[in-house]
């Protein structure tokens, strides 16, 4: 048995790197979150005051809410768009592989590039979307997509949905591929329409794919930082000021390392809490059915 345990020496390099540059930083973040550290000089202990400030000001509660709401919008939309394209492409083998790769292409690009291109698409005067609407005779629908506080969050979300539809579509296509051929065939023989087959035969069998897709996109979306950073900088009027934007702003805009650390810990707890809850709820539902 001693020989078996000696295998754990193999984990040493990985654990060293992760310990030094991941675990150690998290512990430090927590330590710093209890201080008013400004980046240089002495770090003054302030106890839980940073956390008290976060939970007593409406501003931070709003940012937490905004982060969660943004995630709900993006994840639900991605599930629907991915399912739609996957259900269609599953029935169209001729164009399946090409379309899957084409839809996945935006996910290969960086948030920075996507953010820039969409910032220009959204721009009020000469932006691609408003000009296209005007050319199509739909000038009445022109909007200040990123400048209107009521719209900005949805515009940012739309960009993210555009980016990752190919990702969820690929996951669902893999799920469809795992459904036995006979099931669709049986449905066809019974005279079920395409929609009925999707709704009553395929969708219930896609449970595991939906679980995976929702969990991956939730974690990914909660981490959103770059898109609003490039597109709106958190504006207008704080409409897209996600928690992540405030963390970086406190850190490198104002050098409030202590307070940024407290926000980071709150963020970490939210991400882990959501991941844990989702894992439990979705897996339980899967096991029940």
């Amino acid at each position: 048995m001693r020989a078996r345990y000696s295998l754990y020496w193999f984990t040493l390099p990985a654990l060293a790197v992760i310990g030094l540059f991941f675990i150690h930083p998290i512990v430090l973040t927590f330590d710093m979150s209890l201080t008013s550290f400004k980046g240089i000089g002495e770090a003054k202990e302030v106890g839980w005051r940073n956390y008290e400030r976060i939970f007593s000001r409406e501003r931070y509660l709003r940012e937490i809410w905004l982060t969660l709401w943004y995630t709900v919008i993006v994840v639900s939309a991605l599930t629907v768009t991915g399912l739609f394209f996957a259900a269609m492409l599953h029935r169209l083998p001729l164009i399946r592989n090409f379309s899957r790769a084409a839809l996945y292409t935006p996910a290969m690009m960086s948030f920075v590039v996507v953010g820039y291109v969409w910032q220009f698409l959204y721009s009020p005067l000469n932006g691609g979307i408003n000009v296209a609407l005007r050319d199509l005779g739909l000038g009445a629908f022109e909007q200040n997509w990123l400048g209107d506080p009521a719209l900005a969050l949805y515009s940012v979300a739309f960009t993210q949905i555009w980016m990752f539809t190919g990702f969820t579509c690929a996951i669902f296509l893999a799920g469809f591929a795992g459904i036995p051929e006979e099931i669709g065939e049986a449905g066809r023989l019974e005279g079920a329409t395409s929609w009925q087959r999707f709704r009553y035969l395929e969708l219930p069998l896609l449970g595991p794919s939906i679980t995976v897709s929702v969990m991956l996109t939730t974690i990914g979306t909660l981490k959103t930082f770059e898109l609003p950073f490039i597109l709106t900088k958190g504006g207008p009027d704080g409409a897209t000021r996600l928690l992540s934007i405030d963390i970086i702003d406190n850190l490198f805009g104002q050098y409030k390392f202590g307070f940024a650390s407290a926000l980071s810990i709150v963020m970490l707890v939210i991400v882990l809490g959501v991941a844990f809850l989702q894992n439990k709820v979705l897996r339980d539902r899967e096991n029940a059915s």
């Binding site: 345990y5 000696s6 295998l7 754990y8 020496w9 193999f10 984990t11 390099p13 990985a14 992760i18 030094l20 540059f21 991941f22 675990i23 930083p25 998290i26 430090l28 973040t29 394209f85 001729l94 164009i95 379309s99 899957r100 790769a101 839809l103 996945y104 292409t105 935006p106 690009m109 948030f111 920075v112 590039v113 820039y116 291109v117 969409w118 220009f120 698409l121 691609g128 000009v131 555009w162 539809t165 190919g166 990702f167 996951i171 296509l173 023989l189 794919s209 974690i219 930082f225 770059e226 900088k233 992540s244 970086i248 490198f252 390392f257 940024a260 980071s264 970490l268 991400v271 882990l272």
Partner: protein, 293 residues
Amino acid sequence: MSLSDAQTATRAGTGPDWDLLRRRGKSLLVHGVVLALVAIMLLPLVYMVMMSFKTSTEIAQDPLGLPDSLYWGNYMAALSSMGYVRSVLNSMGITISVIVVVVFAGAMAAYPLARLQNRISRLIVMVMALGLATPNFVTITPIYVIFRDLGLLDSYLGIVLAFAALKLPLAVFFYTSFIAAIPIELEEAARLDNCNNWQIFWHVIRPLLAPVTATLSLFVMIMVWNDFIYPLLLLTDKDKLTVMIAVYKFVGNTGIDPTKLFPAAVLGSLPLLIMFAVFQRKIMAGATAGAVK
């Protein structure tokens, strides 16, 4: 043969087969509609490429029209002042170093985790899961402070280690599920020949890991190439910038100039898009394989 096919077959002798024609037409229509939707999804990319070839007057006067001719001036300007070639080399060098660290440390760590199921393995796997879920801006504050104190700010070594810590959990998950599927009999034969753990890992396990290493490398490359926060905050020397930071510094964040934005966006994405075109199957397979596990 399905029932409806059989029905059309019996009716086929009695004049034009309207049912078949109707189904053919419907199928054509559905293909057309879905392809059109896919094309719409690609429009922003078409827009990006098209805009990069327009002069500033063309952009102002006809924002959506095709350029009169392929105007390369924007690219010339971007190439000469954004430090593109240097930044591509930096990104490639950093990517390759991260891949080397992640592949070696990841495969080694995965071996015991795949073979020993006990509390220690579960604990290590939990730490890795924590690593996968943690947003990188949560750890960036202390990493910045640690790097400053160790003199690792603005160094290739620092950014490589920071990226490696970020991507190692993924590598460990990839390798663990792969190694777990390797029959243990292979190892037992080697153990009878008095091979030690390291020899078994190196001579029996490692040679089998090539396919998963290839997929993993592609994923690490995509993530490192596109990452923004780490290089933005940890590198400032303009000779060490990665591609995305070069794009960001070149375009700026206020009063954006489209003749700079679009060529920089194309140049920034081009290497990965070429990679995607070449390794499309491998990347798509990896994306879903990683998801299904």
